[in-house]
Symmetry: C2
Subunit: 349 residues, 2 copies
């Protein structure tokens, strides 16, 4: 087994922040928005909206000098913090912790074995104090060792039933309406939209089609290997193996894009330092390119963290001042959730 | 660097067979075939043609019990020996050997260093006798160590100018016309066609779109990792690293399909023992599935090898009797190139 440090570090960091202020928000029925006239109705007028619209117009108009032929129209989207809420804890980490009781039911001896013993106490502060190799065991035990089919079934059951703590809603309700509009708008203009996530590729594939309209083959994520095996009756299946194939964070994002897509994206939408290389790679391509950084600066409607308005960074979605400076210097588009998004969630009034 | 045994073994085996009978064939101008009425005009009437047509009809007719929704219509195709000629030596191996002189011009000290010294003699029998680790050095030196862009440029120049020894034609002319018809037919019926090759993913991506109508993101192959780097002026690029990410042979084929596509194919077209697990994986899916094995049994128009008519196996495209037996037992479709293909190449009269 190869080390799995980066995700574990993220796990640990995110666990450390699990006690961040969690406020209950009002729960409302979803409202369908018509996009027949304005493709981005959840966006306020402003520089960010204008830049996105102008980019899509220029790259899809055959008369434009910036025209991009349809096969090259690739747009990549980070998931956590870009398409849905990542605060106070990555959703996949919640999944892994939630899986532990079932794991212990199947193997009762784990109840007295670390790190599972600590997880079962429900004391997340104690969980966060576990050494990294112990935290890795939780990931390995909950994300590998089963067939691909079994894993997909487990995740599907969970994603359909689990509720987040703040909004008391399915996690897939916590997708950002303005970003769903961007996905739909760009697809309508001939772009193929890919998720490029530090999260697990197999995890995100389970719900990406339903949640975002993104099919499995357009989800690039951190991937463990699989092992082709034969079952009791000789039937072949793929076993999820505890072997890291692709750590889809930082430099792993452009590397994963090359492996899985083989084309340099024309647009990338992101929100944290783990996306830096993907944004740089996107902007480095010839012709007009779009790099978008989303700033979490809305403490009321979502969360505020990062370098905006002098807010302290959190441990999730790290966004240091240096990234902000690079964005400004490199002509990246910085989106303020507070100012640029009229509506954040579809369920808002 | 991780070991690269399987491809090197294949390289060695293919080099051993490089002196297999090479006969010159007539060279004729390409003829355009109309497929307006019959989608498979290069196929003779017979069980194989009927089975392929019936499968496509049944899985794309909404009234059929075997109907497959468009997003799930995935068909995978091995390349060497399935879409184009693999005998007497894999085309990519020819490329690697052809690159050695340029390599030595760039680094003259290599001229007196093995294995490059032996390759420069042009004595392929001697090349074939080199130990496997030495042969690996040729692969590493010619397939890694340059940027992705540089590699693509090198392969493109080569594929446009190199000629095979028997037909004196570009290698991409040696694609099988009946298989091009199958690709076009299935795509017209809503299938997405993927190459799943033991050959190099980056190598095949350079010409797959032009040769087969298959875009880079639909080429799954043996893949080395890349490394995100910055050039002299700070510009980001991807360096091809000597690290094997995916050995897309044998069990690596279904594993690669899961990594890159995330769906079980409904149809797979193959020709050798390295495809066995992909065929089994395809057939193991629910509903109607199609597994096709192509038998190289036409010594006159192409090559004859494998278990047909008691022919000895060659070192390329290994196809033992056991695979033939599994095909017969498992309801796979076996295609005889001699009997089922009216025309093998587009350039035939």
């Amino acid at each position: 087994m190869r080390p799995h440090l980066s995700r574990s570090k993220r796990l640990r960091l995110s666990l450390l922040s699990v006690f961040a202020a969690i406020a209950l928000a009002r729960v409302h029925a979803p409202i369908q928005l018509s996009a027949q006239v304005d493709p981005l109705p959840a966006w306020n007028e402003g520089a960010a909206r204008t830049a996105i619209m102008a980019f899509v117009q220029a790259t899809t108009d055959p008369a434009s000098k910036d025209f991009v032929p349809p096969p090259d129209r690739i747009a990549t989207f980070d998931q956590d913090g870009t398409l849905w809420v990542e605060h106070p804890m990555y959703t996949q980490v919640v999944y892994c912790l939630d899986r532990v009781p079932a794991l212990v039911r199947a193997k009762p001896q784990l109840a007295n074995t670390e790190p599972f013993k600590t997880v079962l106490t429900g004391n997340l502060e104690a969980v966060a104090r576990l050494p990294v190799p112990e935290l890795q065991k939780i990931l390995v035990a909950t994300l590998t060792g089963m067939s691909v089919d079994q894993f997909q079934t487990q995740v599907k059951l969970w994603i359909d039933s689990a509720r987040d703590r703040r909004w008391k809603r399915p996690y897939t309700d916590l997708k950002y309406e303005p970003m769903i509009e961007v996905l739909n708008f760009m697809r309508a203009k001939g772009y193929r939209t890919y998720i490029v996530t530090g999260g697990g590729q197999d995890f995100v594939r389970v719900f990406a089609d339903k949640a975002y309209g993104i099919p499995p083959e357009q989800v690039v994520g951190t991937a463990s290997g699989t092992k082709f095996e034969y079952g009791e009756n000789g039937e072949p299946y793929l076993l999820k193996a505890p072997k890291l194939l692709l750590n889809d964070n930082n430099a792993g994002k452009p590397e994963g894009i090359h492996l899985m897509i083989g084309r340099q994206p024309h647009a990338a939408f992101c929100n944290s330092t783990g996306d830096r290389q993907m944004l740089e790679y996107t902007k480095a391509g010839k012709g007009r390119r779009l790099a978008v950084l989303i700033l979490h600066d809305d403490a009321t409607r979502e969360y505020a963290y990062g370098p905006a308005q002098g807010l302290p960074e959190t441990r999730v979605g790290v966004f240091p001042q240096a990234l902000y400076d690079e964005a400004k210097k490199g002509g990246w588009v910085v989106v303020s959730m507070k100012n640029d998004w009229k509506r954040i969630f579809a369920f808002e009034p």
